[in-house]
C-alpha cells in the first residue's frame, strides 16, 4: 500500500513539474469551467426567453376579443418547452429540435426554430458544454498525460529497477492509475460543482445529478484504466500514444457517427410529406364531414338525433356544427397519434441500434446517460411533442364543445349582416382554456432510464480492469 501511495505521489509530482503536463491540466480545468459557465448562461437566457414568449403567447390568447369558437381553433396557441433543471449541463438534442410549437385545429405541426436552423455551421463542430468537454476532450487529455505512465519507465529502464527493489507490479500500476484518477477528478470538479448548483434548486434533481456524477466518474475511470493498460502493454511511449489517439478517434468520433448512419439506413423514417399525404388518404377512408351522403357522418348524425330524441338537426338543443367539429377532430387526432406513434417507434428502433454500439464505445453509453439525466434526449423531446398534442386536442375539443353549447345552430348557419356578431361568444371564455405547462418525466423513470447505460459503463470498467490485469501480469517480462 505504501508503495502504491509513493508511486502515486511521485507520478503527480512529476506531472506538476513537467510544464506541458501542468499546462494541459490547467487548460483542461479552465475549459471545463468556461464550458460550465457559458452553458449555464446560455440555458438561463434560453429559459428566460422561452418563459417570456410563453407568457406573451398566453397574454395574446387571453386578450382575444369576442370570437366564434372555431375562429379560436384556428387562432391556435403557441407552447414552449422550458429547459429541464439539468439541461445546461448537457443540452443534448435541444439545439436540434426546437422548443416551440404552434397548436391549431385539424393540423399537427412540428416543433421548429431549433438553434441549428438559426446559426452557422459551427454548431455542428460540437458545442462548448460540460458534457462535450468531459465526454470527448477529457479522455484525449488523459491519454496525452498518461500514455507515458509505464512506457516511459520502461524506456528509461527505471521499471526494472522498481521491480528489483521489490515493488509489486500491482502497486506500481495501482499508483500510476491513482495519479491519473486524481487528474481526472480535477477535470470533473468544475462540472460537478455546476451540476450540483443546478440540482440544488430543482425538486427531484439531486438523485439524478448524483447518478450522473457517478456515471461520469465511472466513464473517466474507464478511460484512466485503458490509458494505464495501454501504456503498460505497448513497448514504446510513442506507440502507446498513437494507439491511444487512434482508439480515442474511433470511440469518440467514428463510432458515434457510423452508428447513426447505419440506423438511418436500416430503419428509414417516413418524411413529413409522405405522412401528410398518408393522413389525408386515411382520413378520406374514415369519412368526410362535409359530405351529407358520407356513411360515417350519416350514422353519426342519426346517433345524435336518436340520443336527443328529435327528428331534425334544427331541433337539437345543441349546435350540431359544434358536435360535428368534435367528431371530426376526434378522427383526425386519432390519425395524428397513430402516425406520431409510428414515427416514435422507428426512432426508438434507431436509438436502440445506436445504443448497441456502446459495446464498441463507452462514449455512446455516457452520452445516453447524460442526455437522459438532463432530460434532453429523444425521449424527453417526444414527451414534449406528446404533451403538446394532448394539450392541442384538449383545447380544440373544449372550443368545439363551446361552439356546440354556446352558439345556436340557427346563428351558426345564418348569413345575414348581423349573424357575424351573434356567432361570437364572450371573450371571458378564453380565460377558461387550460394553460400549458410541460411536465418533465418523473424522477423515478429518469433514474430507470439511467440504469442500462450505467450497467454498460460498469461492463466497460470490468473489461478495462481485466485488460489492466493482463498488462500487470506481463509487466517486466523481458521481450
Amino acid at each position: 500500500m505504501s508503495v502504491l501511495v509513493s508511486v502515486m505521489g511521485n507520478e503527480l509530482r512529476a506531472l506538476l513539474r513537467q510544464r506541458t503536463a501542468l499546462a494541459g491540466i490547467v487548460l483542461m480545468a479552465l475549459l471545463s469551467i468556461t464550458a460550465t459557465v457559458v452553458s449555464l448562461h446560455h440555458m438561463q437566457a434560453a429559459a428566460e426567453q422561452r418563459a417570456r414568449q410563453q407568457a406573451a403567447a398566453q397574454a395574446d390568447f387571453d386578450a382575444q376579443p369576442d370570437r366564434h369558437p372555431h375562429r379560436v381553433v384556428h387562432y391556435g396557441h403557441f407552447v414552449y418547452r422550458l429547459p429541464a433543471a439539468l439541461a445546461a449541463f448537457d443540452p443534448g438534442v435541444d439545439p436540434f429540435t426546437g422548443s416551440s410549437m404552434f397548436l391549431e385545429g385539424h393540423r399537427q405541426n412540428t416543433a421548429n426554430f431549433g438553434d441549428v436552423m438559426q446559426s452557422s455551421i459551427l454548431t455542428r463542430f460540437g458545442q462548448l458544454t460540460p458534457a462535450f468537454v468531459l465526454q470527448v476532450l477529457a479522455p484525449l487529455v488523459l491519454a496525452f498525460l498518461g500514455h507515458g505512465l509505464v512506457a516511459q519507465e520502461r524506456e528509461r529502464g527505471t521499471l526494472r529497477q522498481l521491480l528489483l527493489q521489490g515493488a509489486s507490479r500491482r502497486s506500481i500500476l495501482g499508483g500510476k492509475l491513482a495519479a491519473l484518477l486524481v487528474v481526472a477528478a480535477v477535470f470533473l470538479l468544475p462540472a460537478f460543482i455546476g451540476l450540483a448548483w443546478l440540482a440544488v434548486g430543482a425538486a427531484g434533481a439531486l438523485p439524478v445529478a448524483l447518478m450522473v456524477m457517478g456515471g461520469y466518474a465511472l466513464y473517466l475511470a474507464v478511460c484512466c484504466l485503458l490509458v494505464t493498460a495501454v501504456s503498460a502493454l505497448l513497448p514504446r511511449r510513442r506507440d502507446a500514444l498513437l494507439a491511444l489517439i487512434g482508439g480515442w478517434a474511433l470511440m469518440a468520433l467514428l463510432v458515434p457517427r457510423i452508428a447513426p448512419d447505419l440506423a438511418y439506413a436500416l430503419f428509414p423514417l417516413p418524411d413529413r410529406l409522405h405522412n401528410e399525404v398518408g393522413i389525408a388518404r386515411d382520413l378520406r377512408a374514415l369519412g368526410d364531414s362535409h359530405d351529407p351522403a358520407d356513411p360515417h357522418f350519416a350514422q353519426f348524425r342519426q346517433q345524435v338525433l336518436e340520443r336527443y330524441g328529435v327528428q331534425r338537426i334544427e331541433d337539437l338543443p345543441v349546435n350540431y356544427k359544434g358536435l360535428l367539429a368534435v367528431e371530426g377532430e376526434r378522427l383526425t387526432s386519432s390519425l395524428f397519434n397513430r402516425y406520431a406513434q409510428h414515427s416514435a417507434a422507428i426512432q426508438g428502433q434507431q436509438n436502440r441500434l445506436v445504443a448497441g454500439f456502446a459495446a464498441l464505445s463507452p462514449v455512446l453509453a455516457i452520452r445516453q446517460l447524460s442526455m437522459a439525466a438532463a432530460a434532453t434526449d429523444l425521449q424527453a423531446h417526444l414527451a414534449f411533442l406528446d404533451q403538446a398534442e394532448r394539450h392541442r386536442y384538449r383545447i380544440v375539443q373544449q372550443l368545439n364543445q363551446m361552439q356546440a353549447d354556446d352558439v345556436s345552430y340557427a346563428d351558426d348557419t345564418a348569413k345575414d349582416a348581423g349573424a357575424d356578431q351573434r356567432k361570437r361568444v364572450d371573450s371571458a371564455h378564453w380565460q377558461q382554456i387550460p394553460r400549458f405547462a410541460f411536465q418533465p418525466l418523473d424522477t423515478r423513470s429518469v433514474l430507470r432510464a439511467l440504469l442500462s447505460p450505467l450497467l454498460i459503463l460498469a461492463g466497460w470498467l470490468l473489461a478495462a480492469l481485466l485488460l489492466l490485469g493482463m498488462a500487470s501480469r506481463r509487466l517486466g517480462v523481458a521481450r
Binding site: H42, S119, T123, R124, L140
Partner: protein, 418 residues
Amino acid sequence: MNLWRHEFRLLLRSKVAFGSLLLLALLGIASLLSGVQRIDSQRQAIERIAALQAEDAAAVAAAHADSTDAGSAAYYSFQPTWNPPAPLAFAAVGMRDVAPIMLRVRALGLEAQIHDGDAFNPELALAGRFDFAFLLTFLFPLFVIALMHDLRSSEVESGRERLLRSLPLRMSGLYLRRTVVRMVMLWLCVAVPFTLVAVLQAVPVLQIIAVLSLAAAYLAFWTLVCLLLARRAWNSGVNAAVLASVWVVIALIAPAMANVGIERAIPVQQGAAIARAQREAVNHAWDIPREQTMRKFYARYPEWKDSAALGSGFHYKWYLAFHQNGDDDVAALAAEYRDGIERRSAAAARLGWVLPPVGLQVALTRMAGTDMQAHLAYQDRIRTYHGQLRHYFYQYLFTDREFHQRDHEQVPQFEPAP
C-alpha cells in the same frame, strides 16, 4: 528517381505507416459510401413526391368537384416544393441532415408554413454525419500527424541522423523527399476513392479538381504544422502529443468557442416571435371591418383594386387578402431574421480563413450546396414560387372567374434550382 522509389519502399515497409494508409483509404471509402447512401435516400424521397402529389391532388379535386370557387381550391390544395441535392452533396451532407429538403405549401400565409421542419431523429443528427467532409476535416489530420510527427525525430532517436550527416549528402533533400512521399501517399488515399465516387456521381470536373486541391491545401497546412514543430527537435513522443493538442485546439475547441462568440455577437430574434406576430396580424382581420383589410391589400397590390366590392357573404378573396397582409406585416421581421442567420454564417465563413478545419467545412458545404446559404436559397425559391401560386389564384378570385377541374392542371409548378 531511384532515391524516390527507395523512399516509397521505406514508407510502405513500416507497419504503422502501411496500416495507417490502408485504414485511411478504407475509412475514406466508407465515408463516401455513407454519404452516397444518405443522399440517395433523399433523392428517392424526392422521386416519390410526384406520385404522392398526384394522388393527393386528384383526391382534393374530386372532393371539391362541385365547387367552382378558386378560393376553396387554393385553401385545400397543397403544392410540393423540394430541394434536390447537387451531385457533390454526398461528400458534405451539411445542413441537409436537419433542414427540410421538401415542403408542401398552399396559397395561404407563407410565414406560418415556411419554417416547418421535416421529421428527423435528433439524437442521430447530434453527432453529425460520417461523410467525406468529416473524414477530411477531422480524421485526415490525425493520419498526417501519425505519419509526419517522427519524420526527423525517429532518425535522431535511432542515431541514424548523426551517421547520415557524416555522409556527403544533403540532409534537407532527404527530408524533403521523405515529406513529399508521405504527402503524396496520404493525398492519394483520399483522392483516389473520392475521384472514383465523384465521377460515378457525375460531379463536374472543376468541382472534383477543387475538392482535390482543397484536400491538398489542407494536407499542406497540417504538414507545415508538423514540420514547424519538428524544428524544435523534441523527441517523437512529445512531437505527437503537441501536434495532437494543436489539432484538438484548432479542430474542436476553437470552433466551439467561436460559435459561442458569434451567437453572442450576432443575436437573432427567435423565429417563433415572427410566427406569433403573423398569426396576430392574420386573425385580427376577423375583428375589423372587411373593407379595411381590402383597402390595405389594394394599396399594396393595385392590380386587383378594380375587383368587385365584397358582398355580405364570405368571399375567399378577403380570406386570401388578409393572409397576404399578414405576411406583408411581418416581412420586415422575417427579413431581419434571415439577415441575422446570414450574418452568422458569414462570420463563420470569415473564421474559416483563420481556422483551416472551419474553412474546409465551409468551402465543401458551399460547393456541395449543403450549407445554410443553400437552405436560405431554397427558402427564397419557395417564396418566389408561393408568389406565383398566389398570383394564379388571385386571377380567378379578384375577377370572379370560375375555377374548373382543368384549372387544377394549370396551377404553377415548383421549379427546383437548375
